[in-house]
Symmetry: C2
Subunit: 220 residues, 2 copies
DNA sequence: TCTTGTTCTGACCGTATGGTCAAGTTGAGT
DNA sequence: ACTCAACTTGACCATACGGTCAGAACAAGA
């Protein structure tokens, strides 16, 4: 289930290019990438280990050597996107005020929506189905994270740096809006004439979202 | 949950009102309700006809008598939600300005998120997976609907009734934010101490969302 | 009552899936 | 060269699923 790295890994003494450990890491990575795609496109129930194996380029039995069960593999995929999002919080914390912090957070989340749309979809699917495998994360890490940012937002409000808005509903709006461009990317693409948003359109989108939100919280 | 009242257990004789046609309508309705729940909770791939049949209170073979295939049943569920959302557009059109129109649209969409969370989830899941069964709706009905509202928003902007914002990104933000309370309801509930939003909280949520958005578009 | 079309249902079927296993192959340490 | 753990793989299995079918039960018109 968890990462190995447990018992005796002989020496761990690095020498040339990562031999065994590096190969394992690379294999796991390609599996995770394939799994993310398949889970995003088919959902957990619709995804098959065979398809993931094919996409990763190895036999199904070998896939089970790396990830014992479908659930274990799925869990890793979900944890991956969650950690990516948590990192995006750094820009939030480092900011000196709401315009900078929230603006940078929107930029960061939008970038992730563009670079990791499948991860976002897997997360959305997981939560929509009642978070059967990451409920504990919601109750611990996510709750702590959210409470922490809410506190920052309240401080900004107390200091008169932004309008009085409920911090939680503001955060929900940020999550909803930014992730929408990943989760509903297909719908947006269809309404965009069947073509993905161009670089210019993406920049315009970020500016538009930031414009509305920042003005909405009295910072603009 | 709650056993349907359609029970056609031998007895139940009724003949006066539209006996056969009415019974069929009632049975279909209870099936659709069960299907919406199961598809929302498990996704298309994870849902089973057996579970839907059990929840609707009839044998699987009988379920197949009403809906020949899983796809046919799923399609009906998706179409149902889509039509409910289209109706919510009425308040948009009837408005004389953005504050009234967009405010009322937010209220309407939020109400639907509360009353039909499962339908919203099924739609989200469908779109996330590339809209395999309702792509034609996206390209026709939804596109027309969206273009129409965009035109209205542009007129409001031209008349100086609201700030210059891209109509499409504004609409995406409205969809994302309002549907988030249905699709990610479980996450919100968890962050709310594991309890569903109360009536008062729901009202506060609507006010908060409207506050940010309306201020964000220069109407407030 | 008889007839006819609709509705209901248990039993069944072919297929696909997640997962296992035993027999290999490989390659780093000695 | 030898050893042994790490890795690879085709074949296999039990199960569960979507869907079918033949016939029973039922309603309603004649």
């Amino acid at each position: 289930m968890r990462d190995d790295e447990s018992g005796k890994r002989s020496k761990n003494g690095r020498s040339g290019s990562g031999s065994r450990a590096e190969a394992r890491r690379a294999t796991e990575e390609s599996i995770l990438k394939a799994a993310e795609t398949v889970f995003a496109e088919a959902g957990f129930g619709g995804a098959t280990m065979q398809l993931i194996a094919d996409m990763a380029g190895l036999p199904k039995a070998n896939l089970h050597y790396y990830f014992a069960t479908k659930e274990a593999l799925y869990r890793r995929v979900v944890e991956q996107i969650f950690n990516i999002w948590l990192q995006a919080a750094d820009v939030f914390d480092a900011a000196s005020g709401p315009a900078e912090g929230i603006g940078a957070y929107i930029d960061a989340k939008m970038e992730i929506s563009r670079s990791h749309p499948n991860g976002s979809k897997v997360w959305a699917s997981e939560v929509m189905h009642g978070a059967p495998v990451i409920q504990d994360y919601l109750e611990t890490t996510l709750r702590d994270w959210t409470d922490g940012r809410a506190k920052i937002i309240r401080r900004w409000i107390a200091q008169g740096q932004m309008a009085e808005v409920d911090p939680y509903h503001l955060l929900y709006m940020l999550w909803a809006t930014t992730q929408h461009y990943a989760d509903f990317g297909h719908q947006i693409e269809t309404l965009n004439g069947g073509k993905p948003l161009s670089d210019a359109q993406w920049e315009a989108t970020k500016a538009s979202v930031k414009g509305i939100v920042l003005r909405g919280i009295g910072v603009a």
